[in-house]
């Protein structure tokens, strides 16, 4: 069987909506099928870990928050919690509850944002506009609580910086009701809207064994039947007391990833209500001295995209000796390569968006197609158009062939 080689090269083009950092995937394709994937990341490598070693613990709070704009509370919360363990202090219960509330509100905001982008990937702009319109509700809530729509700077070492008044609590509960009702509506759309089903059902398969072997994390793993969730497996913050159940689907495809995230959003709304109803009294933060004795701690948080790990080592001064951050997207890189193999070029945008990567806007994809050595480089947008159009021509055989499998 002669492997037909054709190299697709994509000129660097701007991307819309430009979401995250860049990524660069090299695909080896045989005609329309993807055989092999190689990746090159690091376009947004800003040298944060080196920078952190030259900043004090308090300054690092605001550095860690800006590693990823969409899961900023996850990063800052995890950093604050790890440094508290390092310094041997514990945040008061009310502070921990408020921190957990912010985590969950941000998960709602991140999942809704992703749902809009996934709809945009398959050319479904009306749903993209509607989902992003309803996402403004949670953005308003977060702005009411913390004063900023993104990068909330709510956490500090030893607790939280702002309290939640009763009147605010009432407004948040009202906002949560609207969110729940809208998310249910979108879940109903995703379940039986034919456009989504054809472009998402059994595409980008990641079997349970592959997910376990390649250590996939977060919703990507839970969509492949792996029952793992740091909030339950390694309880932190107020997750010990908050009742919640972990959503697991086992159809291992992009549709499962969509549904896991939508269900998790509904779960988050329930958790936020619970946290607000039993918010303990007391102050919201404790004292924190500037220097921390020699120590090292591994801190872990379930960010919207998966397990986020912080390893901090202190050396007695007021600056960390070493700050190691492993973002969930780095863990999902290998699984996504597995998903792409065997699929069609036209599936690449939606499969890539499937893991909700922190660099969903793959600005440069280089396809190597062996036989004809033709170079073909496409920007993020050309690939999107190609995939939507390609599906127009081959929609039927693909669907038939897939149902046969």
């Amino acid at each position: 069987m002669s492997i037909e080689k054709r190299t697709f090269k994509i000129p660097v083009g701007p991307q819309h909506p430009a979401l995250k950092e860049f990524e660069n995937f090299t695909f080896t394709v045989d005609g329309e099928r993807v055989i092999d994937v190689d990746f090159r990341i690091g376009y947004t490598h800003r040298g944060i870990e080196k920078l952190a070693e030259s900043k004090t613990y308090i300054q690092n709070l605001y550095l860690c928050e800006r590693i990823c704009g969409i899961c900023s509370a996850a990063h800052q919360g995890c950093y604050a919690q790890t440094v508290e363990e390092l310094a041997g202090i514990t945040a008061p219960p009310r502070g921990t509850y408020i921190r957990t509330l912010i985590w969950e509100l941000e998960r709602i905001h991140s999942h809704l944002l992703w749902l809009g982008i996934a709809a945009h990937e398959i050319g479904f702009d009306t749903l993209f506009m509607l989902v992003w319109r309803d996402r403004e509700v949670v953005m308003d809530l977060l702005e009411m609580i913390s004063g900023n729509r993104v990068n909330y700077a709510m956490n500090t070492i030893g607790g939280v910086r702002r309290d939640i008044s009763d009147e605010l609590k009432h407004r948040i509960l009202k906002g949560l009701d609207i969110l729940e009702e809208r998310t249910k509506y979108y879940k109903e759309i995703c379940m039986n809207e034919q456009t989504i089903l054809v472009r998402a059902a059994n595409i980008g398969i990641l079997t349970r064994e592959q997910a376990l072997k390649l250590n996939a994390v977060g919703p990507t793993a839970r969509a492949s039947g792996v029952d793992v969730d740091i909030r339950r497996d390694d309880p932190y913050g107020a997750y010990g007391e908050v009742p919640f159940d972990v959503i697991v689907y086992d159809t291992c495809d992009v549709l499962a990833r969509i549904l896991v995230r939508v269900d998790e959003t509904l779960e988050c709304v329930k958790m936020c209500r619970w946290v607000l109803e039993n918010l303990p009294e007391g102050d919201i933060r404790t004292k924190f001295g500037r220097k921390i004795a020699e120590n090292e701690v591994v801190g872990r948080v379930e960010a919207p995209r998966g397990e986020l790990l912080y390893y901090i080592k202190s050396n007695g001064t007021d600056k960390p000796e070493r700050l190691k951050v492993r973002t969930p997207t780095l863990a999902n890189i290998l699984p996504v390569c597995e998903m792409l193999k065997g699929g069609y070029i036209a599936d690449i945008p939606i499969v890539l968006a499937g893991i909700d990567p922190c660099f969903a806007c793959m600005d440069r994809a280089l396809f190597i197609d062996e036989s004809s050595e033709k170079k073909w480089v496409w920007s993020r947008e050309q690939l999107r158009i190609y995939s939507i159009k390609w599906y127009k021509e081959h929609g039927h055989e693909v669907v038939r062939e897939r149902w046969k499998q």
């Binding site: 701007p14 995250k20 947004t44």
Partner: protein, 144 residues
């Protein structure tokens, strides 16, 4: 001819097409730029369209501290845009490198790579602030 130039100036103010380029930021500004398109802020009221190709765009909206890796791409895109073109630097780390200043992977701001017309501070600036930035740009255009 004065009428013609007035007409052209009016047209330029009324339909600024923007092109968004993410030069390695943390995406907080990017989601705010995209949020400006969605129903609540809807920049299309001002005639603003988000264009995909540099050939079509007038205003280049740059977000993120320009990382070393993306610097020459940014310059290439800036050169591909037809005149008259403008640059809008959105976000504190785009203006001065912000919290990442001093890091080895980051330039100290966009104006080290390309000339900038309007700076929109904020981390991230609200969609209203971004729209205000574009309006400021148009006022500057009005005067020139």
């Amino acid at each position: 001819m004065a009428v013609l130039s007035k007409l052209v100036k009016w047209a330029r103010i009324k339909s600024p097409w923007i092109l968004h380029y993410n030069s390695g930021g943390c995406n907080a500004c990017d989601i705010e730029v995209v949020a400006a398109l969605t129903p609540r802020f809807d920049v299309e009221r001002f005639g603003m369209l988000l264009k995909g190709s540099p050939r079509h765009a007038d205003v280049l909206v740059v977000t993120g501290p320009v990382t070393r890796q993306t610097k020459n791409r940014l310059i290439r895109i800036y050169n591909q845009m037809p005149d008259p073109k403008f640059v809008l630097a959105v976000g504190t780390c785009t203006i001065t490198g912000g919290v990442f200043r001093g890091g080895y992977g980051v330039l100290g701001g966009v104006d080290e790579a390309i000339p900038v017309d309007v700076f929109v501070p904020g981390c991230p600036p609200k969609p209203e602030a971004i729209i205000h930035g574009v309006v400021k740009l148009l006022e500057k255009l009005q005067k020139s």
